[in-house]
């Protein structure tokens, strides 16, 4: 039981704690798990989250920042006053819990459909785009000297990587070919400024409360690159969940997102953001195809994965709307 190992080390990072209770797995991928639990403390229980690669698991995928880097980034975000959980503890090998870290649990919602439809978020929704613009700018402003070692990417590298992955499927998709061609023809080249990029700044990785954004999660895809990538990715239609006229996550406008971003003194390059939106749409489409591949070759032979394969056509219609609009 994971509670046994957690109880053994809990007093080291939460002085006075006597144990843990209510441990439950929230999600588990091939190499990473997320658990929720409560730290039992005489002063009142404290909610916590464990993010770990269990003992004996292989290396994280090559794009992943790694759990040590994720912990550093999350703590830096917290220290900078960005909405973020606090890192409570970085796991040590002798604790027998694998690699990873423990963070404070922040209450709120990550499920897009609830955030976009439920009454309790009605007041928060109009504020979110602007808030998230400011948060993205805060991420891009994190002090460079303190950042961990991360991969570097660029628009040119990303196009090549998407093309390589798409070709590996050996299944013709004329719309993806059109998008790859468009990206190559419109590649803006190296960004004038290279910053930390969150890399997966979208619904699912944002905890939203009735008062707005409460936390940014999941730094797994963090890297150095063009800061406009984060702004383009959150505008991808796949994250609008039906609210297609509100480009930012289905709740807000690009204008609000950009205004929040520029409030901090940082500048938006709207053309680059649009370029990254096209790239992001194609990227999600190729990820859907990748899920289908993994469904076929296992070990995760689940119908959810299989059905995600059939969502890649959603990105084809979105790419056509972006690149070959019928509106004239």
């Amino acid at each position: 039981m994971i509670e046994t190992e957690l109880s053994r080390c809990v007093a080291d990072f939460s002085p006075g704690a006597t144990g843990v209770t209510g441990a439950a797995k929230l999600s588990g991928g091939a190499s990473q798990e997320t658990w929720t639990f409560d730290i039992v403390h005489p002063g009142g229980n404290v909610g916590a989250i464990l993010r770990r690669a269990p003992p004996g698991y292989g290396a994280a995928p090559s794009r992943a920042a790694g759990l040590d880097a994720e912990a550093i980034l999350m703590q830096l975000a917290f220290d900078a006053g960005l909405p973020s959980p606090r890192v409570l503890h970085v796991l040590r090998p002798e604790e027998g819990l694998g690699k990873g870290f423990i963070m404070s649990r922040i209450e709120g919602e990550t499920i897009a459909r609830k955030i976009l439809r439920d009454e309790e978020f009605a007041k928060a929704r109009p504020m979110l785009a602007r808030q998230l613009g400011k948060v993205a700018a805060g991420i891009h402003n994190l002090p460079e000297a303190k950042l961990p070692k991360l991969r570097s990417s660029s628009s040119t590298k990303e196009i090549a990587e998407l093309e390589r992955e798409y070709r590996s499927f050996n299944w013709p998709r004329p719309v993806f070919e059109l998008a790859l061609r468009w990206l190559a023809d419109h590649d803006p080249g190296p960004s004038r400024e290279v910053t930390l990029v969150h890399g997966d700044f979208r619904h699912g990785n944002l905890i939203i409360g009735t008062d707005g954004v409460r936390a940014v999660l999941d730094w797994e895809l963090a890297h150095f690159g063009d800061p406009m990538e984060d702004l383009g990715w959150i505008c991808v239609n796949s994250w609008r969940f039906g609210e297609i006229d509100k480009p930012v996550g289905g709740f807000g406008s690009r204008e609000d997102l950009f205004a929040g971003y520029e409030e901090t003194g940082r500048k938006v390059d709207a053309d680059r953001v649009m370029f990254w939106e096209v790239m992001g749409t194609l990227r999600w489409g190729i990820m859907c195809c990748g899920m289908m591949q993994r469904f076929r070759i296992g070990p995760d032979h689940s119908m959810e994965r299989a059905m995600i394969g059939r969502r890649s056509s959603e990105t084809e219609i979105d790419l056509l709307r972006l690149l070959a609009s019928r509106g004239g």
């Binding site: 719309v175 059109l178 061609r181 297609i244 959810e304 969502r311 056509s313 219609i317």
Partner: protein, 124 residues
Amino acid sequence: MQDEPTPTELVKAVADFLRTEIAPVIKGHNAFKLRVGINALDLVTRQLALETPADAAETSRLKALLGIDGSLLELNRALSEKIAKGEVDLDTPGLKEHLWQTTMDKLAVDQPNYASYKREAGTA
């Protein structure tokens, strides 16, 4: 010749049973999985109904566009290669219309409730 009922009728009967009798009594993560399963069966039903005419139309568009003969897969490979090489693009007569029609036909099977599709189909 196989006898009746048709695959469409069988799959539809199973999907309807799961939807009306089973879904209301299943809870938690399995309820989510069941919904995905029902969606998959509905997709199969749509594909059985729509695939043959859509594929035939796509094949004849591709033959006209490319001026060659071949299977649907071969023709799509040939078109993909031409787009990648820049030999055809959105200025090529018929390409844009072909890509739109093909994509709309895919969405009609895959995700007819997808908002972008409903907008383009003029139903939302």
